[in-house]
């Protein structure tokens, strides 16, 4: 086959790859965008959480959160207005709202902070009480098992995910996979960890 056939060869390879990819996609569907960007804050009128503080089967705070739990939930910070929390309607919350939610999480409310950055970044420092949950950790099943052990999807706890902020896509990626696993109440912190730390908010790690 001469040089004049190169475009034909290229097109044939593309066609074969497309066919293989199409068949593959039938067996292993993927997601590239979130189904919903809405979330309900604890105490909202629309809050459908099933968590009951008196229920022994209710999710327990993570060890980190339990260690800093306040005496009573009634001492929690003022309820957050969801309109204020998600001004842009894109499922993202500003730093000050995230800080209020974190304060409530530290008091034992069923709010979970997840760190979607790389493992090295997480180990260097993260939001106090946050769990490592990069999308690879979720897809491997390890992270998902860990999260489900104390906050199953049915509990509808609020999950706040953060990464490095700005153009960071990691939070979205983790949120997409958690949605696929059944978690529906997910908010993304618009600011990144560096802004959180720079604001003097609670952190853990070296």
């Amino acid at each position: 086959m001469g040089k004049q056939a190169i475009p034909v060869q290229v097109l044939a390879i593309i066609g074969l790859a497309t066919a293989c990819g199409a068949v593959h996609s039938l067996f292993e569907p993927i997601r590239v965008d979130r189904q919903s960007r809405g979330f309900t804050l604890p105490g909202d009128p629309g809050d459908q959480t099933d968590a009951d503080p008196a229920d022994p089967s209710a999710p327990e705070p993570s060890p980190e959160q339990a260690s800093t739990e306040a005496d009573t939930v009634e001492d929690a910070a003022d309820p957050v207005d969801p309109q204020v929390a998600d001004q842009a309607g894109d499922g993202k919350i500003p730093l000050e709202i995230a800080a209020q939610l974190h304060e409530r999480a530290m008091m034992g409310e069923p709010i979970w902070f997840l760190d979607a950055r790389l493992r090295d970044d997480f180990d260097e420092g993260h939001i106090a009480g946050a769990l490592f949950m990069a999308h690879t950790h979720v897809s491997s099943g390890e992270g998902l098992d860990e999260l489900m052990s104390f906050s199953p999807p049915e509990a509808n706890d609020l999950i706040v995910i953060y990464c490095t902020g700005g153009d960071c896509q990691a939070s979205e990626d983790t949120a997409i996979l958690l949605e696929a696993a059944g978690y529906a109440n997910i908010a993304i912190m618009a600011a990144g960890f560096d802004e959180w730390a720079a604001a003097g908010l609670p952190t853990e790690g070296p």
Binding site: G2, Q9, A12, L16, T18, C20, A22, H24, I30, T136
Partner: protein, 180 residues
């Protein structure tokens, strides 16, 4: 045709010392990368999304198509390069893909977007960390090697050679003239 100088194909030395190692090396590299991506298309889809060229809300079908199509194209190219079958076509497509990847990486640097390359799945090849000049240089090097293969073809140890020996006829005539 009378008066036409026949094009000269690669000789044995070039075929064995340059083209065969090049084919096998590129095939191993991109075949391995393809298998990693095929085993985890979700992560590769996120890697493409991180380039922030396609809006996932509007172009979800395109992102999904690339996430499944690119790894299979790499795998098919790798198999073709090992066999030396359609070598020029496979190398040309690989060069086009590398050029597109390199342009995408350059756009990340220009837009100051910090993300990982994921060019070889979760593995790193020569460069690590966020996309930078190292990744651009690596891809440019691979692009040059691929273009060399697209230009010279698979060489004598290839199915292309067995299917179309006429391309190498001028060499054999030359060799027999020397022997005489």
């Amino acid at each position: 045709m009378p008066g036409e100088i026949p094009s000269r194909g690669p000789g044995w030395a070039e075929s064995i010392l340059v083209l065969l190692p090049l084919r096998l090396g590129l095939a191993a590299l991109f075949g391995y990368a393809a298998v990693l991506k095929i085993m985890d298309p979700q992560s590769f889809a996120f890697a493409i999304k991180a380039f922030q060229i396609l809006d996932p809300a509007e172009h979800a079908h395109l992102l999904t198509g690339f996430a499944f199509g690119i790894p299979w194209a790499e795998l098919i190219i790798a198999v073709l390069l090992v066999l030396g079958f359609w070598t020029r076509g496979a190398a040309t497509l690989l060069a086009l893909m590398l050029a597109a990847f390199t342009a995408g990486l350059a756009s990340l640097i220009v837009r100051k977007i910090e993300t990982e390359c994921a060019c070889f799945g979760e593995q790193e090849f020569l460069c690590s960390g966020a996309v930078g000049l190292c990744h651009l240089g690596r891809n440019a090097g691979l692009l040059l090697l691929t273009l060399l293969l697209a230009w010279r073809g698979g060489g004598r140890l290839s199915i292309d050679r067995a299917r179309n020996p006429a391309c190498f006829a001028s060499d054999e005539v030359e060799s027999s003239e020397k022997d005489a």
